[in-house]
């Protein structure tokens, strides 16, 4: 497709093509779809985008996405507040929630240790995790990190920090294929991995 020199269209194509997994061609298709859609739809979409930035923040306790001070999981009285599941990112919370096989709380690290990408341990929310274990009445910490070498390094690092606390420390069972990402794994596999977690 040739660009038509209409700047409103080109702008939208540029914006779309910055989204993960969206190439130039798909961006063009999406932009044309919106061009042809009703004004109401375009308005709703634009508002949804603005809202997600204005009306959300990170949960004060677990750093999951939240509308209030605390996220819906932290404010849910039916959750087991003695368990923390440590994940890399918010998408992992979503993936694990979908399995419905975990009823405890979360802690979102915001990444994994990766010297090559310039991410060191003190840039992650590890200090906050340790504080939670000191202050909340935590009995089990489940390290549900992606099975990459970086995820593994982060598990080793956290395990060393937590080994003197009187808690049960577990990780996902290694049925998870190496090099795969949690968010791409099907729901059943993650559910099974949580049920058969191993002590560290």
């Amino acid at each position: 497709m040739k660009e038509l020199g209409i700047s409103a269209l080109d702008d939208l194509i540029d914006q779309f093509s910055q989204l993960p997994g969206i190439g130039r061609k798909t961006a063009q298709r999406l932009a044309l779809f919106i061009l042809k859609s009703s004004p109401e739809y375009a308005n709703d979409l634009a508002n949804a985008i603005i809202n997600i930035k204005q009306n959300t923040r990170l949960c004060k306790r677990c750093f999951n996405v939240a509308e209030e001070e605390f996220c819906s999981i932290c404010s849910d009285h039916n959750r087991d507040v003695h368990k923390i599941c440590v994940v890399e990112d918010i998408v992992d919370v979503m993936a694990i929630e979908e399995t419905r096989s975990y009823r405890g709380l979360y802690h979102v690290l915001g990444g994994v240790i990766s010297p090559l990408s310039g991410v060191s341990a003190d840039q992650l929310r590890i200090k906050e995790l340790v504080e939670r274990i000191q202050n909340e009445n935590i009995e089990e910490v489940l390290l549900a990190l992606n099975p990459s070498t970086e995820g593994e390094a982060t598990i080793i690092y956290i395990t060393r920090l937590l080994k003197n606390f009187n808690i049960r420390l577990t990780r996902l069972a290694s049925g998870v294929p190496m090099g795969s990402h949690l968010e791409y794994l099907d729901v059943a596999t993650i559910g099974k991995a949580i049920q058969s977690r191993q002590d560290l």
Partner: protein
């Protein structure tokens, strides 16, 4: 494993090639630059997913074209058929298919079609850099053992991260303890690699010696020695693990100083010996060639034993430097084994009046012409 048909489009100088393979031994003959090696390269790609000549797939696409497409139909020992297809285009990149299924991680099909290659580049195995000898071990073991391939990939990632941490420690930006998460993994994956390599060389040695004797008809002691960057003399993976761990601790200060990891499988090497002397220094050209052919036969036998599948042999221009007697012995050996073999040569006379299980395939300007 048998390749029963090969379709090639726009690959090197082959624009449209369609070969049915009916014989076990296939002699691809023709003048220089006609496309013989390119055919071997196409078959190699179906097994290994990468070329042995270049890293960049773009140079494999026929000049002025935008894609190449290679399809092979294979017949397993169990009489089951399957298809592997490799497609690459400048726009869409590379895609690998097993039957209809698109393969996400290319390396996951390695070992499906086991391949042993002897190329011109392999002549450098004896004389060239240690990295080529490590690559030789890695390709062989990756085909035999998927855990080896996984460990190798993980090891490389861990190594890069560890080296980065070493630099950071050196610059005072990171604590020595920052090494712990990486050391633990480096030892785990690295000791597996060393252990597997060491075991493999031990298994290869008697086979190499036997093949060398058959081909050369002299009794010489040909042997590969595994040179490890740490003391490695063990029978169990657990011991290798301990030895690597110990050495890594010993050299930690040096590693920090250099900003790189100075011990481990990525620093290991092989030495080829003839009667306890390095072949590199004391071997003739023909002896080196004989050694490498023996090595390839030994590899094939090892692979067969571990996978229970006969590998496909690709032998590029192997007869140079060999005298008539040795050529005859090599051909005899190939005929004995019932492994599908593709041999390129500029002179096919030595096969003209030979047995029925040999197909002579003339390669001319990117086309093939059958003669038998």
């Amino acid at each position: 494993m048998k390749l029963i048909s090969l379709k090639v489009l726009n690959f090197r100088n082959l624009d449209k090639l369609n070969i049915e393979i009916k014989k076990n031994i296939n002699i691809l003959h023709g003048g220089n630059g006609q496309g013989k090696t390119s055919i071997l390269e196409a078959i190699y790609l179906l097994g290994i997913t990468k070329s042995f000549r270049v890293n960049d797939d773009r140079s494999l696409v026929k000049n002025k074209e935008k894609f190449y497409d290679i399809t092979g139909d294979f017949l397993k020992e169990t009489n089951k058929k399957f298809r592997i297809r490799i497609f690459f285009s400048w726009d869409e990149g590379k895609h690998v298919f097993y039957n209809q299924e698109k393969i996400k991680t290319f390396s996951s099909i390695i070992g499906t079609v086991p391949i042993i290659l002897l190329s011109l580049e392999d002549l450098e195995l004896t004389y060239g850099s240690p990295s080529s000898r490590r690559k030789f071990m890695d390709i062989l073991l990756s085909q035999i053992d998927p855990v080896y391939l996984q460990s190798l990939k993980q090891y490389k990632k861990v190594l890069l991260n560890r080296n980065k941490v070493l630099v950071l420690i050196n610059e005072g930006k990171e604590d020595v303890n920052g090494l712990i998460p990486w050391d633990q993994q480096l030892i785990e994956f690295g000791s597996y690699l060393c252990f597997k390599r060491y075991q493999m060389i031990k298994e290869l040695n008697p086979l190499i010696e036997a093949y060398y004797r058959q081909i050369s008809e002299v009794s010489e002691k040909m042997e590969i020695g595994y040179q490890s960057s740490f003391k490695l003399n063990s029978e169990t993976a657990e011991e290798v693990n301990q030895q690597f761990k110990k050495k890594l601790q010993e050299v930690q200060a040096r590693d920090i100083n250099y900003g790189s990891t100075t011990v481990g499988p990525h620093r290991d090497d092989l030495i080829f010996y003839k009667n306890n002397q390095p072949l590199k220094v004391f071997g003739s050209q023909g002896e080196n060639k004989t050694f490498l052919i023996s090595l390839k036969f030994a590899e094939a036998q090892l692979m067969e034993k571990h996978l229970n599948i006969k590998p496909i042999l690709l032998l590029d221009d192997i007869f140079g430097e060999l005298d008539q007697r040795r050529i005859k012995k090599v051909v005899e050996n190939i005929q004995k084994t019932d492994r599908q073999t593709f041999i390129t040569t500029t002179k096919a006379d030595k096969f003209k009046d030979s047995q029925t299980n040999i197909a002579l395939i003339k390669v001319e300007n990117g086309q093939v012409i059958y003669e038998t």
